[in-house]
Assembly symmetry: none
Amino acid sequence: MQKAKRLSVIEKLITDENISSQDVLLRKLRARSIRCTQATLSRDLRQLGAGRIVDGKGGYKYAITDNPGGRISMPANIQLLPVIRDIVDAKGLIVIRTLPGNASNTAFYIDNTSRYEIAGTIAGDDTILIIPRDGISNSQAHTCLEIILPGLHEQVKKSKPGYVNQ
Amino acid sequence: MQKAKRLSVIEKLITDENISSQDVLLRKLRARSIRCTQATLSRDLRQLGAGRIVDGKGGYKYAITDNPGGRISMPANIQLLPVIRDIVDAKGLIVIRTLPGNASNTAFYIDNTSRYEIAGTIAGDDTILIIPRDGISNSQAHTCLEIILPGLHEQVKKSKPGYVNQ
DNA sequence: AAAATTATTGAATAAATATGCAAAAAGCTA
DNA sequence: TAGCTTTTTGCATATTTATTCAATAATTTT
């Protein structure tokens, strides 16, 4: 499946370059042998929270925009992944375990993306509970987390089925 | 010349309300006896540096966008319950989001009412998980919260069903 | 105040973006 | 792997936004 990759390339393109329209983006992707249609880009951009904004030069450009609700914008390139140890599904919720002391940072970061799919997070010292919104499937929630933290699931290898006393 | 006034009304409208398209804006202006055409709005919005962005609820809205590079912006428009930002149903639980640092205060307050309907709460920094007791319906739980925090649901407008890529 | 210059606007239309729907692809389960 | 479910995608098109061009209104100059 190439969607995840396409999303990350799109994200990189619009932050690095000045993309003024979906058509331009389409061509840039094509130059990287990623082919899709404008319709798909429209959906991808929505999912990334990207919008077409006025670029100080009298034109337009795409950019990842902060959401209303006035959340706090974060520096884009914080290194979060190394602190994540584990990610587990539980009762329709998702538990992420981090290095000690890193849960609230990470949860704060996740919160601030204001993703629709995530109703909220709660963090202890080294554990974050991710609460997906009603109607969001498990895999939708995971896809969303992957967008927020690209590479998450590659990084954190799926934990093997474990032993339980019974 | 009415342009200056129109611009300021537009600015106020898009920051106060959720304007999803220029057509909607056009009608709101008309209701204030400011009449112009969509073409003019397109130009005005460019001039204001306003863009149509993803609103976190699955839709689009206009907002004045900062130049990327991002600085910190905080919400400014809550009055009655100044610390509560958001309330969402999720998996039979209820998630309340507050301003940073206010979750445990608020949860403590809720806890101390000792309402039967609420089995317990868990608070992080800005998120509270409300766990209703078994057998308590969603709407019972909401009614209960409304009793504890009068005005809660008026204040925090229900979020619309959102868009999820699938 | 008339003429000359500059700015604003609407109508029409071009350009760009979003979406319903059906089909294809990817995941899952047994 | 076959059958079933969910997700992704393109096509066609609806919706939305930007722009061209001509006209009108405001502003400045003489």
